[in-house]
Symmetry: C2
């Protein structure tokens, strides 16, 4: 059996293909099929006559989206509109006859029919456009892992079941665990740091995380694939950014090599491998840039950027530096978690960054605080740890640490080395690369507030 994309190379030969029936035209003297596999579509053409009766009868009985195996002779002919090639079939075997009423139209993808398409996701995914998303995802993930492993990273699978709420009680799914309670991990953050404390030095994980977020926006979901890494013995958060930009460039390079032509043909998009280093601006500079462009970030963001400001910074980076990417650094302490390292030169900021890609945030990263008394003090300042967990002399009172953070914080009490890392949005990468605007389109089986099926 050969792939349909290979058919044209076998002019005059007998080949076998298999796929789904995309079109049937049963005319008076001729029958035409279009059959699609994971690579391409091809026309099947056959005369109606007594010699061909077996094949003719099968074609007459076919319904759209049935799966078939076909054996026949390849005929390369420029008159065939579809790719200049057809197969004259000797045998057609119906592997599975589809119900003759399709619940969705496989040639029509838009926002208004999205919910119905999601109900019938396995049919919705049969189109070449949608298949391409997941082949690009496969290549991207392998390129990520390849880069990590070439840099001595170890893969981990951190637990998704947790005995205590992690970063915050909000957005947390709770479950019944043999009569007690467990929680679903919202991120592998604590566990990837635990791996650093365990001497793994460099780790990565690609796996699911869960957020009980009630939003219905185009960017929100309750379960998604998180891409994470963490590494020890850094000197600065700059080391983390340096690593990440090379990693991103490598991933996009691999996607372009393997799928660049097809992405252009199917989606009309050009994949551009970014130049490194990416521009870096501090949060202070970022605010000045948007101000100079006539925009003031509203106070509700509490010092963060809003989507409008991110978009403007994306345009600014493109115009000023010819870059689709820009790092924004030194985020305010007030909007970063207690485990980010504070800037020793200005403790109101953290040694952290976001990465914007075409004005869309795809990463949060930082150097982490690895010093036991310092991280405990930062937790106390954030109100996550009771004040009596530290003596007036700055000694940690381990027994007064909150139960939910004790295992995590203990890591820093036994020699955990300096480290940093980042999390990266897989779906946001696919949206950026392939031009999709909704996370539902680039997720295999989407999960949201009102979507738990199929």
């Amino acid at each position: 059996m050969i792939k349909i994309s290979e058919v044209k190379k076998h002019n005059g030969e007998t080949v076998e293909i298999a796929g789904f029936v995309k079109q049937v035209r049963d005319l008076k003297k001729m029958q035409f099929l279009v059959v699609r596999d994971v690579t391409e579509s091809v026309q099947i053409s056959v005369e109606k006559n007594e010699n061909r009766k077996a094949v003719n009868d099968v074609i007459s009985s076919l319904t759209l989206e049935s799966s078939v195996r076909i054996k026949g002779r390849v005929n390369v002919d420029d008159f065939v509109k579809l790719n200049g090639v057809e197969i004259i079939p000797d045998e057609i075997e119906i592997a599975n006859l589809a119900n003759n009423t399709l619940p969705i139209d496989l040639t029509d993808f838009n926002e208004s029919n999205r919910d119905l398409r999601m109900d019938w996701r396995f049919l919705d995914l049969r189109s070449r456009e949608h298949q391409l998303i997941f082949r690009v995802q496969t290549t991207a993930e392998m390129a990520m892992r390849e880069f990590w492993i070439n840099h001595d990273f170890t893969e981990i699978h951190s637990p998704k079941l947790m005995g205590n709420p992690s970063e915050s009680g909000a957005e947390l799914f709770e479950l019944n665990y043999f009569g007690g309670k467990a929680y679903l991990a919202q991120s592998p953050q604590f566990y990837k740091q635990m791996a650093i404390a365990a001497g793994f030095e460099r780790v990565f994980e690609i796996g699911p995380v869960f957020r009980a977020n009630k939003s219905f926006t185009s960017r929100h979901d309750t379960e998604f694939t998180s891409v994470d890494c963490e590494f020890a013995w850094i000197n600065s958060y700059e080391d983390v950014m340096k690593f990440e930009e090379e990693w991103v460039a490598h991933v996009i390079k691999r996607v372009k090599e393997k799928h660049g032509d097809e992405i252009k043909a199917v989606l009309g998009r050009e994949i551009t491998v970014p130049k490194t280093p990416f521009p870096r601006i501090t949060m202070k500079q970022a605010k000045e840039i948007v101000n100079s462009l006539g925009y003031v970030v509203p106070p509700e963001t509490k010092g963060d950027l809003d989507p409008t400001a991110e978009r403007m910074l994306g345009e600014w980076a493109k115009e000023k530096h010819g870059s689709d990417f820009v790092f924004v650094t030194l985020f305010p302490t007030s909007i970063r978690p207690f485990y980010h390292m504070y800037n020793p030169e200005d403790p109101s900021t953290t040694l952290s960054f976001d990465l914007l890609w075409n004005g869309l945030e795809v990463t949060t990263g930082a150097q982490r605080e690895h010093r036991y008394p310092v991280i405990v003090r930062q937790g106390i300042e954030k109100g996550l740890i009771p004040a009596n967990a530290m003596t007036p002399d700055g000694e940690v009172v381990t027994e007064n640490l909150p139960q939910g953070l004790k295992d995590y914080l203990s890591c820093f009490n036994y020699g955990c080395p300096p480290h940093g890392g980042y999390g990266f949005g897989l779906t946001r990468m696919l949206m950026n690369l392939l031009g999709y605007k909704n996370v539902r389109e680039v997720t295999f089986i989407y999960r949201g507030v009102d979507r738990l099926r199929p």
Copy 2:
């Protein structure tokens, strides 16, 4: 900064290393440290005198398992017991001073202290033996993906949150989902088949699954990493076994190439790349073999093999075929799920198999039933689908299908091609390769009935 395994190549040069303090000997005239990184350990030796006071003072203050950066001169000398090399330090920087009371002894791993070691897993994992497990796992997973991708497989991330119980209500974790109910996936089975129905042709997934199993045995856990693949257009379950044995051999080959010497040095085990094809025996033959060896499988197994029989078959395969592996095929219908294809020559058996590795089951695989009326009838026979979901003429009455199976079964009503696949036990592979007897030792952070932390 260089890895400690590289130190010996730099005799006479000044190098920088970083790692954890494994031993401190602070003698009258000399000080010795042993420092360990992810690759190796090395001795640090320094005289006590006025010129070395800064370094001497740092070493005197060091506690075990603190993390340090060391700059110094390499001295290759056969008199140094540890690897014939030492570093004479110029600078030692304490990155993180460990609490001077370690809760576990990092040189003593056994069953009796396992529970305490699991409490302090990040310290337990610092030993070279335990680190090796996860570097082997990393290589094995990459080899799996490499083989799949070279055979045109697409990676999927199937949802772990499900709106309906999947295969069975037992062993299922239930959670509160915005006031309604959701369940955690026990396997990606339905979704990998959905991907086949979606035209992906060949898919794989490595990801977490969840089982609310109350067992406390050495093999049971409530969350583990499942390794799964599924592919279309097979002619027989034999195609699935053929693929799997080549895949397994490739994975072991890569592990041997990358870690064979270290596994031998650290664990005293020889990795052997298996020859293919693996021997195949039917369940009927398997029973005859164990009978001929004087054992009768107890009736409680209801036609399945028990661990004793599996062990005997492992020994038989080794003796008779020189193979660590043996496929057992044609499992009874009564102990296989309704979606396995039944044997047309004997419907009391299924076109399915298990793979035994050293007498331990590591795989269940099968050709799946892809014909809509047939799978529905099999579901009715198993009591999972009400009888009124099929007319006396054998037509499926879609509206009478149970809600929980409707989305899954619909896949077979719209042209899903023939397909098969297997699931593979990652932890069992590590136990087999590295000689561990308990799943707790080869899981990064173990989850069981009474273990939800750290």
